[in-house]
């Protein structure tokens, strides 16, 4: 298990992905992500986010351009187990007769013999992963008996057990309460600090500046990408979402009677709002949840 892993990276180079009817779902998308990163993939529903994910996972082949993972073609990277995927809750049939430990053990299949009989190392990896996400005591529960946040943690444990350097998460915060959300975020941060690359698809704008250090704004193509502080700006978001966000701006006169020019901007798709506060060019990201709970 302690073999040298390649440095995680995702290189998307000018890809175009089309449906079988010829309509392009993604056009000329380019970006590049490196190690020790949590990157958000932000875009409206139908912007091609999941097409992009599927392409990175090798489900779809781009009709032009290329994807390289850790410097390798997608297939080779997958064969080495470099990429783990945490599915959306709706993608999983929670009634399957599989226990929590079975799910985490599935992360080890790439390391096992053809009959998938777990060795001591596999069991140890599963124990460790479950322990790390704090789910050890639930290991013999059927997967559907868990709460939304617990399910997510189990799938993160699977990614840990898999030993992947790159983790793709599809809408990890849907149906998860705020407390669990911050527990998951802590876990993601810890995984980042170990050098992993986490790529998180989300339309939950409020939490993005909170834990993502990079952002890819996406609508059929990459509108902007880079560090959150410089990329996740009002102007870029307006471009990414068009008129589809609720946009509340409280400027000087609405807030107070003095000549203070600072203003509050709230951007929301009616989940967690993004709140911007400050003067035009020095707006800071404010986390409404954190500010409520000292």
């Amino acid at each position: 298990m302690m073999r040298d892993r390649p440095t995680p990276s995702i290189e998307v180079n000018d890809i175009t992905v089309s449906y079988s009817n010829g309509v392009a779902a993604v056009r000329n998308a380019t970006f590049e992500l490196g190690p020790s990163t949590i990157c958000a993939l932000v875009g409206i529903n139908g912007s091609g986010k999941s097409t992009l994910f599927k392409t990175i996972m090798g489900f779809l082949t781009p009709s032009a351009g290329s994807v390289r993972i850790a410097g390798l073609p997608v297939k080779a990277a997958l064969r080495q187990g470099l990429v783990a995927y945490v599915p959306q809750s709706e993608e999983v049939d929670w009634n399957f007769p599989v226990l929590v430990e079975d799910v985490v053990m599935m992360g080890r299949y790439g390391h096992m013999n053809v009959l998938r009989i777990p060795a001591k190392a596999d069991r140890a990896a599963v124990d460790q992963a479950l322990d790390r996400v704090g789910m050890s005591e639930y290991r013999t529960r059927q997967i559907g008996e868990l709460s939304g946040g617990q399910k997510k943690r189990v799938f993160l444990a699977r990614a840990l057990a898999q030993g992947s350097e790159i983790v793709l998460l599809d809408e990890p915060f849907t149906g998860v309460d705020v407390k669990t959300e911050s527990a998951i975020i802590d876990l993601l941060r810890a995984m980042r600090d170990e050098g992993r690359l986490m790529f998180v698809s989300t339309h939950n704008l409020g939490s993005v500046p909170d834990f993502c250090d990079q952002v890819v704004l996406f609508n059929r193509t990459v509108l902007a990408y880079g560090p959150t502080a410089t990329t996740f700006t009002e102007a870029n978001l307006a471009q990414a979402f068009g008129g589809l966000l609720r946009h509340v701006r409280l400027s000087g006169p609405d807030l107070h009677d003095d000549a203070d020019q600072r203003r509050v901007t709230v951007l929301t798709d009616d989940e967690r709002p993004l709140v911007l506060y400050g003067e035009r060019d020095q707006e800071k990201h404010v986390n409404p949840d954190r500010s409520e709970t000292p």
């Binding site: 089309s18 079988s20 009817n21 010829g22 309509v23 392009a24 056009r27 032009a64 009634n95």
Partner: protein, 291 residues
């Protein structure tokens, strides 16, 4: 001239009263089933159509055995199937398709068992594969009554059904009762299944209640048009199939369904907007744009 004998040969089926009757009864059944197929394929209920067709078999077997109208027996066991499916769904976490499969295969097996214990009363092949050429007068009456009532109800309610299936909450808001409409639909479906049993048999009913609708769905985006096209396809293939079966020793059901499948495949390839050729054209065009 060879033409004379050839035309005589082609017209020969119409000389027999049983053939003429088989042709128009088939067309009628084909048209009604095609009407229903438009809803079935949009809702993804193909398995339901198959299930009802198999589930009515024990009822039909018992009806022939005990000498009451086969439609009543079929209808009763169709309702038992629907209730059974709903009941098992409520009691277990099983996927819907598994529940449907479980219930209809059980009823079908019971039907076969009944027939096997009393082999003389019914010919199992005519239930499973249909036998329109040898349909009795009583059965023709039953088919016509079923088809006429179904067509009348569908003609009155087709828009309500569409609304209820497409947008249940809106249907509710305009004062429709979606639950009642759904029940009505399944009652009509099992009635038409019973009618189709006579022409194509239990196994092939699924084609009658799926294929014409799917074909029409490839050809148009307007629902009224879709119904019209589907009925046309259903009636024409059924009539032609019955006609051709005169020359082919009676595999009426098989012929009807083969024709329906061929029409579907033709639409799949050649449909102006949704066919394979059209898709290939537009793919080529968009590839040029990108270049």
């Amino acid at each position: 001239m060879l033409l004379g004998p050839a035309i005589d040969l082609l017209l020969e089926p119409f000389a027999y009263q049983y053939m003429a009757r088989a042709i128009w009864v088939s067309a009628l059944v084909g048209a009604v089933c095609a009407f229903l197929s438009c809803y079935l394929i949009l809702k993804g209920w193909a398995l339901m159509g198959d299930a009802l067709a198999h589930s009515v078999v024990p009822g039909v077997a018992l009806a022939y055995l005990l000498g009451f109208p086969y439609a009543i027996g079929a209808f009763t066991s169709g309702i038992i199937a629907a209730l059974g499916i709903a009941f098992v769904r409520r009691l277990t976490m099983l996927r819907e398709d598994a529940v449907i499969g479980l219930v209809f295969t059980t009823l079908f097996a019971i039907g076969l068992l009944i027939v096997s214990i009393n082999p003389t009363s019914v010919n199992v092949q005519s239930i499973v594969l249909g036998n329109i050429l040898a349909i009795s007068d009583d059965d023709v009456t039953q088919v016509i009554v079923i088809a006429a009532i179904s067509l009348a109800i569908l003609g009155l309610k087709w828009k309500d059904l569409l609304l209820a299936f497409f947008d249940e909450s809106h249907a509710r808001s305009v004062g429709l009762n979606p639950w009642l409409l759904r029940v009505l639909f399944f009652v009509l479906l099992s009635a038409c299944t019973v009618a189709a049993l006579q022409t194509v048999g239990a196994v092939l009913v699924i084609a009658m209640v799926v294929t014409p609708g799917a074909t029409a769905h490839l050809l148009t985006d307007r629902f009224g048009m879709m119904i019209g096209l589907a009925m046309l396809i259903g009636a024409a293939t059924s009539a032609l199939g019955a006609y051709l079966s005169f020359f082919l020793d009676g595999a009426t059901g098989g012929l009807i369904v083969v024709l329906q499948t061929l029409v579907f495949l033709a639409a799949f390839v050649f449909a102006p907007k949704y066919g394979r050729l059209a898709a290939r054209r537009s793919a080529r065009r968009s590839a040029e744009v990108i270049r």
